[in-house]
């Protein structure tokens, strides 16, 4: 093992650079190849699928899942789960419509709705950290609450939005690119950089990797936990804004469908470990596009919609199995990423941890 008798030259940074040169494929390669394959198959099967218009439709439809998956990424990285994001779509989507109905201009209405959505996330974080309710139960409960509130307020009636300006959020375009797609892109880039380049971002990984060690290393567990759920709440709120803006109706029954399910699927197939501490925003976003493509492709091919859940369920199973196998294969990363010099990254571990 170690050797004290010979004075060996200690490894220096040069040493690690040598090893960086044989850099392996990034974590996201696998899922990216799957995405390309899926796109190819659908393009071959259907001429309608491979149009630019359908491309945008696919992406726009994918933005809501994308936002939820983005928020879910933060939560999953800490080893938690947020089941309330789908319900948050309904709550914030109806709330923004109601506030506008009351005569508030749309930007202010949006701000209010987003604050409410974030507050739901903060509530999740508080329940999980201070009351020590397991994340699954805490967010499962707040999901129920968040789903019921808009139904109770509106009596299950949809709320029309008359402020035309608001339609820009979900339907506008900049340089031909749909605004929701741009919004998600910007949010994803910021989130990705934040996770890598800020102290708090690294703390998210540390908390998910080993909560006890993170605490002893000075990580503020309370703040980090509350923050990730708040971010997830905010992302749910963005989903609500986009849905309401596209329909120009605050629809109290949205978010009860597959959004939550798909968002977790997107994050997990994108390489975010359900056990915490491993994964990237890029992976989750590729996962979201993959889920959107599967969903859109099956629509274009006129496959009965019942099949979508089945296919996506299978995708989740494959993704999670892959993750679990990766963890149990000690010392042998499957798609482990080696950090380049000066670039931080969080290599996937292969050792099961007591989390």
């Amino acid at each position: 093992m170690t050797d004290t008798t010979t004075a060996r030259k200690p490894p220096t940074s040069k040493n690690s650079e040598v090893h960086v040169k044989k850099r392996r494929l990034p974590d996201e390669t696998g899922i990216f190849i799957v995405l390309v394959a899926v796109l190819l198959v659908f393009s071959i099967l259907s001429p309608n699928f491979r149009t630019i218009d359908n491309g945008f439709t696919l992406l726009v439809n994918g933005t809501v899942i994308g936002f939820l998956a983005l928020g879910q990424t933060f939560v999953l990285l800490t080893g938690g789960i947020d089941l309330s994001t789908g319900a948050n779509i309904a709550m914030s989507g109806v709330l923004v419509a109601l506030v506008m109905q009351a005569g508030v201009p749309w930007p202010a209405a949006m701000l209010i709705a987003l604050i409410a959505a974030t507050s739901l996330g903060v509530l999740n974080g508080l329940l999980i950290h201070y009351v020590r309710i397991p994340p699954f139960i805490a967010t499962f409960s707040t999901q129920g609450v968040a789903l019921a509130i808009p139904l109770i307020i509106t009596g299950a009636n949809s709320i029309q939005v008359r402020d035309i300006g608001f339609s820009w959020i979900g339907q506008g375009r900049i340089a031909g690119v749909p605004l929701p797609v741009l919004l998600l892109l910007v949010a994803a880039v910021i989130a990705g950089l934040w996770l890598r380049m800020t102290r708090q971002g690294v703390h998210v990984y540390a908390l998910g990797g080993n909560k006890n060690a993170a605490r002893l290393a000075g990580v503020n567990i309370a703040r980090t936990t509350i923050l990730v759920y708040a971010i997830s709440g905010f992302c749910g709120g963005m989903g609500g804004m986009i849905v309401t803006s596209r329909l120009m109706v605050g629809f109290p029954a949205t978010g009860t469908g597959n959004e939550l399910f798909y968002s977790i699927a997107a994050a997990v197939v994108g390489g975010i470990s359900l056990f915490g501490g491993v994964g990237t925003v890029l992976g989750a976003m590729i996962g979201a596009v993959l889920i959107a493509a599967v969903s859109n492709g099956m629509n274009v091919l006129s496959v009965q919609s019942y099949w979508q859940s089945l296919v996506i369920g299978v995708i989740i199973l494959v993704g999670v199995s892959f993750d679990t196998l990766r963890r149990s294969r000690a010392g042998r990363p499957v798609f482990a990423k080696r950090p380049a010099a000066g670039t931080p990254s969080l290599p996937s571990s292969t050792t099961p941890s007591k989390s």
Binding site: T2, R8, S13, R199, Y205, G209, A217, V278, L346, S349
Partner: protein, 529 residues
């Protein structure tokens, strides 16, 4: 060896290079209480686990009433009539007393549980053994002492012929101890059960045992009837340095007449606070009357550049003290000062900010983040010092990490997950982390646990460098006496959650004396002082 009883003949067990048990032979006779005593790491736990089937010895044999046994699991041992009551009880909190007593051996009539019958039997057992709980009470509603008794009742109900009790009295109040020992006596006298009692407290041992077996360094060093040995002999046997082979009890009894126990501690010198302040720098940490969280008054001072060793039995409060200073446990009573300023850390983050670094005993549990590389683990506590405009300066971070990691001579890839390193190198990486924190005070909990001998030397070197060159005040907790006598400048001893602040210079105290000091409280009737 033949005859009645649970006979252990020459069993050995080693973990890698460590010999936990070496050629251990002993007998647990029915109708007798056999006490097993020994120091930290003497092999008591390994012996218990071997007897209860949780561990398979490398060699040697176990026989019960003449029949050879080979246990491959705890189930085999319990089938053979051996029940082991560990300190961590194996009851299901959410089930009732009766359900626990009958767990795995439920009485069934026609496919349906005979609940009433089981409850009646459980109530009988409770009444018989002074358990005040009823059969239908949930285990979670019982105090610890009662839970322990339920576990004993379960063993009796399962017709155990030999019951192994692992330090059953540590969590008990005095009255409860008496009660428990009374029951142990009754089990033996009335039911003819053979009991093996692992106990730290000599008073209890002498009150209840018929026979005493001492273990030290994985060997039997004392094996005698309670009439033949006295306290001094017991202490001498388990704390002394032995070659091999059991002590001749008759010979020990003869020696005790010369007051062997008394003289051994007489040569121990202490060193005054003033002398330490002269030799080292100013006091860095001063603890006075630290209590709460199972600490019962800790007075201790450590100076800049000093390596202060803390010795004590497992559970004597050493780790709790370190974690309290580090802000991981709340400080209830007493005062801490850091460089003369009052210090009350509410979290590890605050302690880190104040200049305290800590290395945990359990690296895997709360030492490092396994998914992260060594570099990332090293920089985790100091990220705040490398921020410009809210953004982490990764290049500078990585440079600093490479620096400290090369200082400790890591062998392995520092940019790969830290779990790819060997135990010794993981620990060195955590030392690199502490170095990077540039602490005033470094708290080390068993710093060489689970590392090989080469890495151990290197770690000693790192600790000495930090103290000598960086003037860091270091507190080292260790269960290895030799580690402290070699590494520490001064040594303090913890007993039962307390420390009297008396400090022994390493030059004057031997390993055996340290062990004796740690036992002083556990055996109040230590040779007349």
């Amino acid at each position: 060896m033949t005859g009645e009883g649970l006979l252990v003949d020459g069993i050995s067990k080693s973990y890698g290079p460590t010999n936990a048990l070496t050629d251990v032979s002993l007998a647990i006779r029915p109708g007798r209480v056999t006490a097993l005593i020994g120091h930290n790491g003497a092999g008591k736990s390994t012996l218990l686990r071997s007897l209860s089937g949780a561990e398979v010895p490398d060699s040697g044999s176990i026989r019960i009433d003449g029949a050879a046994q080979s246990f491959t699991g705890p189930r085999d041992a319990s089938t053979a009539g051996i029940a082991c009551v560990y300190q961590e009880l194996s009851l299901v909190d959410q089930l009732t007393v009766a359900q626990n007593i009958f767990l795995g051996q439920e009485q069934v009539a026609g496919g349906v549980l005979s609940r009433r019958q089981m409850n009646r039997r459980a109530d009988e057992l409770c009444a018989e053994y002074g358990i005040t709980a009823r059969a239908t009470d949930l285990i979670s509603s019982l105090p610890v002492a009662q839970r322990q008794m339920v576990e004993v009742a379960r063993a009796i109900n399962q017709k155990a012929k030999y019951i192994l009790l692992d330090e059953p009295t540590t969590a008990l109040e005095e009255q409860q101890v008496e009660h428990l020992l009374g029951i142990v006596r009754r089990l033996v006298d009335e039911q003819g059960i053979g009991v093996l009692l692992v106990d730290h407290k000599l008073d209890e041992v002498f009150a209840v045992a018929d026979h005493i077996i001492g273990l030290s360094g994985g060997r039997v060093v004392l094996d005698g009837s309670v009439e033949d040995v006295d306290r001094a002999a017991v202490i001498e046997a388990i704390v002394g340095d032995h070659g091999s082979g059991p002590v001749d009890t008759a010979a020990v009894a003869a020696i005790v007449g010369d007051g062997l126990g008394e003289t051994s501690l007489d040569s121990v010198e202490t060193v005054s606070e003033a002398a330490r302040a002269r030799e080292f720098g100013a006091p860095v940490l001063e603890a006075a009357g630290l209590s709460g969280n199972n600490l019962h008054g800790v007075d201790l001072t450590v100076h800049a550049g000093e390596i202060l060793g803390i010795y004590g039995l497992v559970g004597s409060g050493r780790t709790r003290f370190l974690r309290t200073v580090y802000g991981a446990f709340p400080l209830a009573e007493g005062s801490l000062t850091l460089l003369g300023q009052p210090f009350r850390p509410k979290s590890p983050a605050q302690a880190i900010k104040a200049g305290v670094a800590f290395l945990s005993e359990e690296r895997k549990f709360d030492g490092f983040v396994p998914q992260m590389s060594s570099i990332e683990n090293v920089v985790l506590p100091v990220l705040g010092k490398y921020i410009r405009g809210g953004v982490l300066r990764w290049r500078a971070l990585k440079g600093s990490a490479d620096d400290v990691l090369s200082q400790v001579s890591i062998r392995g890839q520092v940019s790969a997950p830290i779990t790819s390193l060997s135990g010794g190198n993981q620990q060195k990486a955590l030392f690199a982390r502490a170095t990077l924190q540039a602490p005033l005070l470094l708290l080390l909990d068993e710093p060489t646990k689970g590392v090989d001998i080469g890495a151990k030397r290197e770690i000693y070197g790192i600790i000495r460098t930090l103290a000598a060159e960086k003037n860091v005040a270091v507190i080292v907790v260790s269960s290895e006496e030799e580690e402290l006598t070699e590494l520490a400048d001064s040594i303090a001893v913890f007993r039962g959650g307390a420390c009297d602040g008396v400090v022994y210079p390493r030059s004057s105290v031997t390993a055996a004396q340290l062990r004796e000091l740690a036992w002083a409280d556990a055996s109040p009737a230590l040779p007349a002082t």
